[in-house]
């Protein structure tokens, strides 16, 4: 392949990973508020260290839009004076950064040793059943499974640092500890109503 034939980085990134969750998050767009907030983040770091703002900017986009889409990679790269490929390198490194839209309610279930000792793995299977996703679709390459209605997504994560009070799960930003099936039932019912 000659230089000119090389695919544009963005074309490679744009390989769509559709998700039913998308209807719950606004699509990415550059708004004046976003630009303003970005400036604020960059100003937190010493002068000339815009690159340090890459993670804060990623969080900014992910919180609002659910995931990091190729267009946002371009914007982040430009804003912290980097290149799209560098930003993509960051995005692909961290397990906490998503390249596919989660459901409206994103559940993280800890399955590391202490939670496993208190039943975390069984709970994971149970929650999958409860929200109607197939645990087999959760792979190393695509750890998150999204329910068909886009309301729920689930992911097994490593230690949430609350090991003494396991099994621990998080729904969006909130931690729930000492979970059991009954508590899961109640939470799923509660969150379904919120929707």
């Amino acid at each position: 392949m000659t230089m000119t034939e090389q695919p544009d980085v963005i074309e490679v990134l744009a390989e769509a990973k559709p998700s039913p969750g998308e209807k719950y998050y606004p699509p990415f767009e550059v708004t004046p508020e976003l630009t303003e907030k970005a400036k604020e983040y960059i100003a937190m770091y010493p002068e000339g260290k815009e690159l340090s703002a890459v993670l804060p900017l990623i969080h900014l986009v992910q919180e609002k839009h659910g995931f990091i889409c190729p267009q946002s990679v371009l914007w982040i790269a430009e804003t912290c004076r980097s290149t799209p490929i560098h930003v993509q390198g960051i995005v692909s490194f961290y397990p906490g950064i998503r390249t596919r839209c989660p459901g409206k309610w994103h559940i993280r279930v800890c399955h590391t040793i202490a939670c496993a000792l208190s039943g975390g793995e069984e709970l994971l299977t149970y929650i999958c059943e409860k929200i109607g996703v197939d645990p087999k679709t959760m792979t190393d390459a695509e750890p998150m499974a999204v329910s068909e209605d886009g309301l729920w997504s689930i992911e097994a994560v490593e230690c949430l640092a609350n090991c003494g009070f396991g099994p621990n799960i998080m729904i969006n930003d909130t931690l729930y500890s000492q979970m059991d099936r009954a508590k899961v039932d109640a939470l799923v019912a509660e969150y379904s109503k919120k929707a």
Binding site: P56, Y94, G96, T112, E158, C163, G164, F165
Partner: protein, 472 residues
């Protein structure tokens, strides 16, 4: 400041009579919230006032005198670390608070940043003043989104009252603290990985020696990385005075320690004890209420997932005060930083994971292997390739599809990772494998019996068998 006896705690979170709550004084306390008002009412920021009236060098001396050692895992003397900033340095000095807390089994920093953030901020300001840093960062793991908001608010409150910002309390000293959030990677807890994460590049740990962060760290400048609990302990040192601090507990690791107990005990949770004042046996039987009904303790991981597992029936050699040798078990080992290290494991970050006789050790190891295979940053070949390999081997053993030689192979992979990598993750991932396969060898071998191989692997029964007694 209220006397300890006047404080009430939430039900189930009351301190045991053998605990000494200093850092966790206000954790799960009834009527306490993370606001600056609560903290000040409890004597907060008084120590800072004392500190900014001192010479920075005098604070470092005080911390050195106290014998305070880091609580992030390695136990390095904090005061000594601070003096590693090169003499005659003209570059800015940075201080980073390591709040990445992701070592499985460790859960202490979480409570501080969620419930008592000003304690950390005060400790941090004192530490920054001592090393003359004017810019500091709290590196917080992404899984603490609520704490991020709490800490941001606390920083603003502190600035409002001039504990932060320009000319702090009229001392002429300026300091800015910001919060930087990670994104779910364990390796960002390693201090040089953490620095790279802040710089906005992939968080690959850097090779050290020769250059430790205290000499060349963030943006190429001297950088001190300290754990959350360590920084809170700095405040305690200044509050009590270095000598008084050193007088408490074990001589080589004084002060209190926060121990997190998880797994098969009646009362798992956090316990703050004077270092070395109790043994593992007292912790597990008295404070934690012993094993679950009808069970006995089988194995203990004494210091976070990467510490070597200890068998409860293992005979250890202890020394009597007169120098003679006596036989003991892990239950007789005092809980300080060094005692357990003499028996081949480590006390690390204070996360104690307990397993009783219902557990299958190969399954436990498989869980840890999965953790380390997932979290390797991929920079060095032995770690990147070795971890998935070890996971495959332990999975094969658990599924009853392995040959006896696979147990030795598993250990040999670990032996070949250990000591051959850029960062200490190489040791962290291989120590559990070495310890589990050696100390519970018969359990691994039992799973490799031909009878297991003949049984077709049935995922249903495997699921049910998980974490239960092996049926050999």
């Amino acid at each position: 400041m209220k006397a300890m006896s006047e404080i009430t705690y939430k039900p189930g979170r009351e301190p045991h009579s053998r605990e000494t709550r200093r850092i966790f004084r206000n954790i799960d306390r009834v009527g306490y919230n993370p606001s600056i008002e609560c903290f000040i009412e409890d004597g907060g920021y008084e120590t800072l006032k004392k500190a900014v009236a001192m010479e920075p060098a005098a604070i470092i001396d005080e911390v050195k005198k106290s014998g305070l050692r880091g609580r992030g895992g390695a136990g390095f003397p904090t005061g000594v670390k601070w003096t590693f900033i090169p003499k005659g340095n003209t570059k800015p000095v940075y201080l980073v608070c390591n709040c990445d807390e992701s070592e499985p089994g460790t859960f202490k920093d979480r409570f501080i940043v969620h419930q008592d953030p000003h304690q950390l901020i005060e400790g941090m300001i004192i530490a920054c003043y001592a090393v003359q840093a004017h810019y500091a960062i709290i590196y917080m793991r992404e899984e603490f989104p609520e704490a991020a908001e709490i800490v941001r608010k606390a920083l603003a409150e502190a600035e409002e009252r001039n504990f932060l910002g320009k000319n702090i309390l009229g001392s002429g000293y300026d300091l800015k603290i910001i919060l930087h959030r990670g994104a779910g990677a364990y390796i960002c807890g390693e201090e040089t990985g953490l620095i790279n994460s802040i710089e906005g590049v992939r968080p690959y740990p850097r090779i050290k020696p020769p250059f430790f962060p205290a000499a060349i760290g963030l943006y190429g400048c001297p950088t001190i990385v300290n754990n959350v609990e360590s920084l809170c302990q700095v405040r305690q040192v200044l509050m009590r005075g270095g000598e008084a601090y050193a007088a408490d507990g074990s001589t080589r690791s004084p002060g209190t320690r926060i121990i997190g107990v998880s797994g098969d005990v009646q009362r798992p949770g956090y316990y703050e004890i004077i270092s070395g004042s109790i043994t593992y046996g007292e912790l597990l039987y008295d404070l934690c209420g012993g094993p679950k009904p009808g069970r006995t303790f089988k194995a203990i991981i004494p210091g976070g997932a990467s510490a070597k597992v200890m068998r409860c029936d293992e005979v250890l050699k202890g020394r009597n005060p007169d120098g003679s040798v006596r036989k003991m078990t892990i239950f007789d080992v005092p809980m300080d930083l060094d005692s357990i290290a003499q028996h081949g494991s480590m006390s690390g970050s204070g996360g104690v994971i307990v397993m009783d006789d219902s557990r299958s050790m190969p399954e436990m190891l498989r869980n840890l292997n999965r953790f380390f295979a997932w979290e390797s940053c991929g920079q060095c070949t032995p770690c990147r390739e070795g971890n998935p390999w070890m996971l495959k081997l332990s999975t094969r053993i658990c599924e009853g599809k392995a040959a006896p030689e696979d147990v030795d192979l598993l250990k040999s992979v670990a032996d070949n990772i250990c000591g051959r990598t850029v960062c200490a993750f190489g040791e962290a991932c291989s120590w559990p494998v070495q310890a589990f396969t050696t100390k519970f060898r018969e359990e691994f071998l039992a799973l490799t019996k031909p009878i297991n191989a003949l049984k077709p692997h049935n995922p249903e029964t495997a699921e049910a068998r998980k974490y239960l007694t092996r049926e050999d």
